[in-house]
Symmetry: C2
Subunit: 353 residues, 2 copies
């Protein structure tokens, strides 16, 4: 019996999670996988009820689970809170607690969705990138100091920091992933300016030397450009935490909608799975959000945390089939297509399983 | 008599600067502007001759000049050098010496070039963004420490830091610029994670309150996405040094080629003008680089440092006219167009003056 902690979070988190949970249940029934799903709170809604964005109980349950399926957190309503109480602390705190350091963000442009991209079809067609983003270090978790103008502290700072071993383990993840793909790794840095980037470049270079992959290095500014100019040139994109945050959101539009994109965060133990989009408070509760990112995150959970690649592939094919049938949520709706609510889209995927 | 320091730098810097200098000379003759151009060394080629990427003489001349026109620096050949001797130190050192803190990067999609964009024409058409990037602070100039694995120093770090006054002065630049445009400023940060970003957001909010502009705040990851999804929504984009580096390179492709894009770096005194592209060692010496970015940087010099808006506009119109005549360097060449070398493109602009 595998335990899955389900954390819908804020905003559209509730609705997309409902659709994803239904798909996950059905798939595990079909494949005879014994799972127990239990729901937990996190984010701004958790803060409203419990005065913390990440209740102890949620952390304990996540640590005890075999996999965690996460929706999204955040919203303007909680923007005035002090940093430690903001909804984002739920996701940062969970990543920290679970020790997940490798964030995998596959960016695939499905052929029948290529025309939905803001880029020209001939440029995005065939794009298939795996972003491997370091998730436990860098400027996200370095020492920092808030400014407090009233107290005369007129300067704030944050520290970007990486150690050799932190870089080595994420480089290893990228190389292993590349071997199951087209065996090419592009490592992103700003080595012409940053000390951490120079260490990053040297360390990745050394780590990749023994892996059977080709490696190149690219400055982050150039990479931000090449992702739009020629996305098909990339196979595995290896990045620090901050650069990966920016580049993966940028890359997410290549396939037409960020709503389609899942992610897996892996460490030594329990994995954390989430769509890469946010909580979209403006459309929350309207039953129009795209649940596919979360559904595909559930597939990644089956693959990486439960070791069930066939069940994972079944979900991925069902999503494909539902889209090919013409179902489109509002983020991708176009004349002539079948307009789907969040629930409709979930149901269309279920029917294809 | 106005003194202009001309610094071609490395790689294609030489060839593009030649074209730009010819245009600048002719324009100032036509408009009766008395200038004296003098050439100085910087970058890897300067290092090869003088063992420093930024000779004292160059710094002194830049400080004494009314404006500095800069080409590009860098190349793999110098990548093995210790950080303090690398070609990039020339541009970082010059920015520091001149005290320039506001980097203006106009991103305009010319109607007749919209089809050259990797984005769909209907998405980029009408894009007209001014990126105002803070240039004298942030993680570029914060304290850092290199790792030295042999010496057991297995960790490197860099510091992102901003003070209230640094943020105020760049916010002021952005608001002033916005007033001459569509009066909207989008300020970019990562306030859900970084202390510097929270100070950035509060300070910009306060500064803009009295300026007659509308202001919104956007997370950097979302901004990287929106620049591709819907670039026409932006007017002035206000960013930190690092975020501006990434976003401006990303945005530079909207208009079809980074080779077209100029920039101005302004402070209290002498301004520094450069194309936003790099030194492109792979095509250096081939007479195929696009000189328009540097030519348009010379126009910005006339406008911002010499107070000659008509002469600046004359250059901008001449570039437009040459492109509309069909002249295209290799980065933008297409069947049916007139193939231009670097020199041809310069000559075509000259003829239009
Ligand atoms: C919510 C935020 C803290 C988070 C991040 O920056 O990592 C998000 O943008 C992401 O990419 O998962
Ligand atoms: C050469 C490099 C140091 C520089 C920067 O990062 O500022 C360049 O990329 C730029 O944007 O002008």
């Amino acid at each position: 019996m595998k335990k899955i902690a389900v954390i819908p979070g804020d905003g559209i988190g509730q609705e997309i999670m409902q659709a994803a949970v239904a798909v996950l249940r059905r798939t595990t029934e079909l494949y005879g996988i014994d799972i127990q799903l239990q729901q937990y709170e996190a984010g701004g809604t958790a803060y409203d009820r419990t005065h913390t964005p990440l209740p102890e109980q949620t952390v304990r349950a996540a640590l005890a689970a075999d996999g965690v399926l996460f929706g999204a957190v955040g919203g303007d309503r909680w923007d005035h809170l002090p940093p430690a109480l903001r909804p984002e602390q739920a996701v940062l705190g969970l990543r920290k607690a679970l020790g997940v350091y490798a964030n995998l963000r596959p960016i695939t442009v499905r052929p029948y969705l290529a025309s939905y991209s803001p880029l020209k079809e001939e440029i995005v067609r065939g794009t298939d990138i795996l972003i491997v983003r370091e998730l436990a270090g860098g400027i996200y978790f370095g020492a920092r100091e808030e400014a407090a103008e009233e107290a005369g502290k007129m300067r704030a700072w944050d520290t970007e920091t990486y150690s050799v071993s932190e870089i080595e383990r994420i480089a290893r993840t990228a190389c292993i992933a590349a071997k199951q793909r087209r065996r090419h790794v592009t490592s992103v840095d700003k080595a012409n300016v940053l000390a951490t980037s120079r260490l990053w470049r040297r360390t990745v270079q050394r780590s990749a030397a023994t892996a059977e992959v080709t490696l190149d290095h690219m400055y982050v500014d150039n990479c931000a450009m090449q992702l739009v100019r020629c996305p098909t040139r990339f196979d595995v994109l290896l990045t620090s935490n901050m650069f990966g945050d920016i580049l993966s959101d940028e890359a997410s539009v290549l396939g037409g909608s960020i709503g389609m994109m899942p992610s897996a965060s892996l460490g030594e133990k329990t994995g954390l799975y989430e769509p890469i989009h946010g909580s979209a408070p403006d459309i929350a509760g309207k039953n129009i959000a795209n649940p596919c990112g979360t559904i595909l995150a559930a597939a990644m959970l089956l693959r990486h945390s439960l070791g069930k690649p066939e069940a994972a592939a079944a979900i991925e094919h069902a999503v494909d089939a539902a889209l090919q049938e013409g179902w489109r949520t509002a983020d991708m709706y176009r004349d002539g297509m079948k307009r789907a609510s969040t629930a409709d889209m979930g149901a269309a995927v279920l029917r294809q399983l």
